[in-house]
């Protein structure tokens, strides 16, 4: 980048000269600026009175709703139920998906049999299955968890399958030549070799599960859950509650993506030098 080169020279030099703290402070300020601008615009729009405040609440109302619901313990309970559903569904998907993916990657027969079935199921959006699952398993938690798991399974299968097939032939051969038996070959060569792909698949699966869970909670009419909170608040025109719940949903998504998976990647594939951080 031409402009990066010319930009970088005059900018950070004085800041670097003093200390890293100031540079970090500047970076934080630069990140905060766009949020400040959007927040101020939102406030101006809300206070102009163009829209009814019930529908377009000022930010202090949203913050108040967030604090009120958190203190009352309502918001944490909704979030906990949603997370529990996500984790159970995703756990099921991880076990089934990684298992099937590995079998498909190792056995030609399993690949030939399963691949067409998986390829047909995968492109249909998860939400479209929702009414069918409700019909079969009834309203409530079972449908929600199964649907979330079902949706998350496909990317995990595909990535695991690709990963197992992408393990270098020469690693397998040399391990065999050095006398590794089937179980050690699997545990020490194939599983670590396929891990970057498996992790990518788990990440994709979790993201899909998270995206579908909100609407599943509405359709399955579960008593607690962030999705249900949003849709329930609509009935009473509580836009501040809806926005507060959306903030929590965004925050959880950000944490899952950045903290959990980046940590997991750091401690495995990046540390083994299989991937650049």
């Amino acid at each position: 980048m031409q402009e990066t080169v010319s930009d970088a020279r005059p900018g950070p030099e004085p800041a670097q000269g003093r200390s890293g703290a100031q540079a970090r402070w500047q970076a934080a300020a630069r990140t905060a600026l766009p949020f400040l601008v959007v927040g101020v615009l939102w406030e101006i729009t809300a206070h102009l009175g163009q829209f009814p405040p019930r529908l377009f609440p000022p930010l202090e109302d949203v913050a108040a709703a967030l604090v009120r619901l958190t203190v009352a313990g309502i918001l944490p309970r909704h979030a906990a139920e949603t997370l529990l559903r996500l984790l159970v569904g995703f756990g099921l998907a991880a076990i089934v998906g990684v298992g099937l993916g590995i079998v498909m990657g190792r056995s030609r027969l399993a690949e030939d049999v399963l691949l067409p079935l998986v390829s047909i199921g995968a492109p249909i959006p998860g939400a479209a299955y929702a009414p069918l699952f409700l019909l079969w398993f009834g309203l409530g938690n079972i449908s929600a968890v199964l649907l979330v798991g079902f949706v998350a399974t496909f990317p995990i299968i595909f990535n695991t399958w690709t990963g197992v097939k992408a393990v270098k032939e020469i690693w397998v051969r040399s391990a065999q030549a050095m006398g590794a038996d089937q179980s050690r070959l699997f545990r020490l060569v194939i599983l670590p070799g396929a891990l970057p792909y498996i992790l990518a698949g788990l990440r994709l699966g979790l993201a899909q599960a998270w995206r579908i869970l909100v609407v599943v909670e509405l359709l399955a009419a579960v008593p607690w859950g962030l999705g249900w909170l949003i849709f329930g608040a609509r009935e009473f025109l509580n836009t501040d509650v809806m926005l507060a719940a959306i903030v929590v949903i965004g925050a959880i998504g950000l944490v899952l993506e950045n903290l959990v998976f980046r940590r997991l990647e750091q401690s495995t594939v990046v540390r083994w030098g299989m991937m650049v951080a």
């Binding site: 049999v113 479209a128 009414p131 998270w210 849709f231 836009t239 959306i246």
Partner: protein
Amino acid sequence: MSLQRTMSPQRLRSIVRGTLALLLAAAAYEAIARSGIFPKALLPALPKVAGTLLDMLADGSMLRHAFYTLARMLAGFALAVVIGLPLGILMGRVRAVEGFFLPLVSALMPIPSLAWVPVFILWFGLGDTVAVLVVCYAALFPMVLNAWSGVRSVNQLWLRAAGAMGADETALFWKVMLPGAAPFIIAGLRQAFQRSWIAVVGAEMITSSDWGLGWVIYDAKEFLNADVMLASLAVIGAIGFLFERLVFGSLERATVLRWGMVWATKG
């Protein structure tokens, strides 16, 4: 390539086995459906599903549902491309734009588009606007992020060479930058399409429109019409598959594959 030719008998066996597996799965489903363990309304036999599908295709209602869904999806998708592509390119080219929008994009991206549906319903009322906006929200982020990384990953040598040969800014943009970023942009279009396809089906269920594939499925639940649900699922899957293979596949063949870009960027 020679590898593929020698694998040909093995490939044939794969196809035979795959077909057998599909037939077997269909037969197993049929056997369970006919055994009467589960009520017929919940688990209809395959000929009934096929019959429903043909009926709905023949009286034109399925086509109309598909048309409405596609129209909503394409409107939102087009909106997302019109906003997201220039924004992503600008973010890749101008530091200030990147600094301003990147934090916003990263904060809004993890919020599922369907979570906005109730808020949008309050703001814009029930109906098509909500579905289009939700689709746009879903498709926007993959578009922006891919265009942004695409522009940044254009080979520096190409830019310098074009500059040295006297290309001005516009020529540089149209002849080097845009084709150079094309693999990423096409990947972004693909991802954006998948996301908007999911979003439109979900949004239709919640916004209760009169027509639309998502609505048919949801509505069929009320009347226990599992055959209608399965028929609509088949249509949804077929449309998604067609778009993925025909539209994006041919787009890729006409541009980046023909230019040898997909290999050039890796090499």
